[in-house]
């Protein structure tokens, strides 16, 4: 047997593959971060350097000052806030019912929700564009928020149902024997215990809504209404090659919020996703 101390050849091989993995997956974001800190002249310098000779951190202030990125971020936060709230309002009671009640159509509607989760939002965006137009909701935040909620409901319902399933029914029954109604059993007993699941659902909804592109891209037309994902595409269209440092800085700003949330809660989020996707 090989010694535990010192670097045996297998460990060396694993370290080598770690290095390749980190370069391939971490490299692109680091390169864009590096581009975002350059003065325009250095963007086109040859050979390129990862650490710029002048660290132009003020590029970020320029983006904030000269572009609408701040407004796009505000729009994203606003849309996400109402989406997350609305999704929980709908999905918590529904997933409780799926977890606790036996009824006709339970299996088939659960399967239906799974199908909805897998359908490309582009499919529903086509007719929604027409209704929103007819109802005067095209280009409004309330219109897109309703669709964001609908898009997130299937996934959230499945996730929360899994959480409720893992809580013993005897707890609800004990509460009901003590005089609670079904509703207060859920609110007072089951919901607090499943707080981790509800938190995880909220984080997922926030990250996925931050990335949501098709729905706002089709249902919003005026740039002052855009969330970050659509706004940055618009920003790309209006920037020239000499403003690449600003585009890079804007890209970094668009990816930092989900990355920070994700890294902060990685262990927790990974565990929940695994249990959701594998066990269901």
């Amino acid at each position: 047997m090989r010694g535990r101390k010192g670097l045996d050849s297998t460990s060396a091989f694993i370290y080598f593959s770690f290095a390749l993995i980190i370069i391939f997956f971490g490299g692109p974001a680091i390169w864009v971060f590096s581009l975002s800190l350059r003065v325009p002249a250095e963007i086109f310098a040859f050979p390129p350097r990862i650490i710029p000779s002048i660290v132009a951190w003020w590029n970020y202030m320029d983006v904030w000052r000269l572009s609408d990125m701040g407004l796009y971020m505000y729009n994203s936060f606003k849309i996400i806030f109402f989406t997350v709230f609305g999704v929980l309002l709908v999905a918590v009671p529904a997933s409780y019912a799926y977890s606790r009640f036996q009824f006709r159509g339970r299996q088939s509607t659960l399967f239906g929700l799974l199908v909805f989760q897998m359908i490309s939002p582009l499919v529903i965006a086509i007719p929604l564009y027409r209704y929103m137009d007819q109802m005067g909701l095209l280009d409004t935040h309330i219109g897109v928020i309703m669709v964001y909620i609908a898009v997130q409901i299937p996934f959230t319902t499945w996730l929360l149902k899994g959480f409720f399933d893992s809580i013993p029914r005897s707890l609800d029954e004990a509460a009901m024997i003590d005089g609670c109604s079904r509703y207060s059993a859920m609110v007072r007993v089951v919901a607090p215990i499943s707080a981790p699941g509800i938190t995880a659902a909220t984080i997922f909804n926030a990250i996925m809504s931050w990335s949501q592109f098709i729905i706002p891209f089709i249902l919003l037309t005026r740039s002052h209404n855009f969330p970050v994902a659509v706004g940055i595409l618009h920003f790309q269209d209006v920037t020239t090659e000499t403003q690449l440092h600003l585009l890079a800085a804007a890209s970094v700003m668009a990816m930092v919020p989900p990355i920070l949330i994700f890294i902060g809660l990685q262990g927790f989020v990974v565990k929940v996703l695994i249990s959701g996707a594998v066990k269901g």
Binding site: V115, V123, A254
Partner: protein
Amino acid sequence: MSAVARTGRALREKPWLWLLPLIIIVGIFYLYPVLDVIRLSFTNAHLLRPQYIYTLRTYERLFVSPGFMHMMRVTFIFVFASVVFQLLLGLVIALAVQAGIKRGLRGTVLTRTVVLVSWVIPGIVIGLIWRLLLSTSSFGIINYILYLIGLERVPFLYVPGLALFSVTLANIWRGTAFSMLLQYAGLQRIPEEFYEAATVDGAGTWQQFRFITMPQLRPILFLNLVLITIYTFNTFDMIMSLTMGGPGRSTEVISLYAYTTIWRQLNLSGGAAIAVFLLAINVITTLVYYLLHRIGAEQEVE
């Protein structure tokens, strides 16, 4: 009242009030649009003209058009290559991370985190990032690396075949994290005793992989395969910012094709028919996923 009677009452309770908000929202914003897109696909509707008649001509015209066949070929290459490499790369990384944890190597969690981060970056930003990386200007780091090994500059985004390669590469980068996560979860569910017993019997690393890891992992590999196939078919945002479907229509996968048909050519019924085609792919693949999932769950119970 006894607990048994209570449970009896629970079974008789009506779930519909609890499900009502979901039924309303999903009905209005999901089910109805889905039915409506199917209806529209059987018309000759134009985006800016409200009147239309019902017809099958839209489908007839769609299936014989050269653009459709081309789009199917592009989509198939994109999905096939993405799925194969996401699956393989995800498996390799999951194995490396697991081996790192078993051996207590430093940097294991860092490696896992770096891979997973690519998965929470918005697709639209991923397209922008790869556009910068693959540029032929001096800030295009990939061409600089090729230059360092003594190769010519490659116009990744300006030649049809290369553009399809680039879009697929970026999508592999994006989707491997999810694939890795599922397979890592699968690896952790294999009991350690299996490996211990195999070691006692004198099985080598390759034999352990071949006769323990692969058979145990198979159900999750299948689930993973189906899920990433669905996600890849639905790809839209990343390609939109990376190539916008170009040059020409060389990277126009099915969802972009539906989009351009409706919002560039204003052909509402034609775009709806393509969307129905995508919908059919989504539904069939989900059905496969569901069946695999149930088989997996039943085996678990046994």
